[in-house]
Subunit: 201 residues, 2 copies
Amino acid sequence: MAITAGDVKALRDRTGAGMMDCKAALAQAEGDVDKAVEILRVKGQASAAKRAGRGTDEGVVSAYIHANDKVGAMVEVQCETDFVARNEDFKSFAYQVALHVAATGPRVVSAEDIAEDERDAERRVFEQKAREEGKPDNVLERIVEGQLSKWAKEVALLEQPHVNTDKHEGKTIEEMRGELAAKTGENVRIARFAYFRVGEE
Amino acid sequence: MAITAGDVKALRDRTGAGMMDCKAALAQAEGDVDKAVEILRVKGQASAAKRAGRGTDEGVVSAYIHANDKVGAMVEVQCETDFVARNEDFKSFAYQVALHVAATGPRVVSAEDIAEDERDAERRVFEQKAREEGKPDNVLERIVEGQLSKWAKEVALLEQPHVNTDKHEGKTIEEMRGELAAKTGENVRIARFAYFRVGEE
């Protein structure tokens, strides 16, 4: 059973325990991460430190509730230092992303984050549609892949032009992110978002 | 007379009364559900089951970002009509829940929402700890179940006393919810929440 550095890091992130403890726990658990978490917890080396957020990542959480109180979004945007996290441009970007998410309700941050089975399901739909439209077999795959890639862009936050096109000159969220990263000199990352619409649980 | 979670849930479904009220009524009725319904109706906590099972597709989304911008929470609270959703008491409750979630970071809305495998994992940790502390077998199960039930209460939003104990007189979120339901005459339901802390993805 080979234990990779990635496994150790994942376990450290989850538990906040030290590297050697994590290695030992993984060895004992024969690589099963969930089991290793349990072993560390029994030993008291991973307390509720799960929540302690050991990551050195800085950043802000920002939220936007639509005026009707029926739709809301919350985002976490990360940077490297607390200095940048307190910067007005950085905070404003986070707020603009929250506002955008509330308006468009994306599914994922990046197109790569779409789960394989969700992508497959979508592919089957496009395939069936193309077949029903009588598209010949030799072009079917190309058509379907084109539609799939278009769809992935539509549901991915980073690929979407900011909903306030006038203010943001039609730039995508990714373009805005890139500009902010250049301006602050730090890596800027949209870590996650939540989107709630009443009754749409 | 052991009162099961299933009994409580059945009573809640029939009456729309809060979890703690249902538990108390069942205890008083020695487990007789029909009798418990009567007890709740006398107390006015079950308005002739009118509230039971009524659709809650209205409501609000509310958010709270901690002053340091490092922690945020967003909640969806549902009710039955847009009229109540616009009510100040209702909106204020949703906001108070968001504030509370940002402060305590619960894992689930209700203890019943804890996934079976997560509960089992926790049980194994408590078991092993109890074994290592040399607890005898004949009391081990009781100890573990006690710890498990305590843990489930700690991580469940509804069971937590509101973090602002002075303002809310030590009431749990579930008690506050029940009072609001009684006051508005509508079924009030915390549908979901999100809790973000920077770097804790």
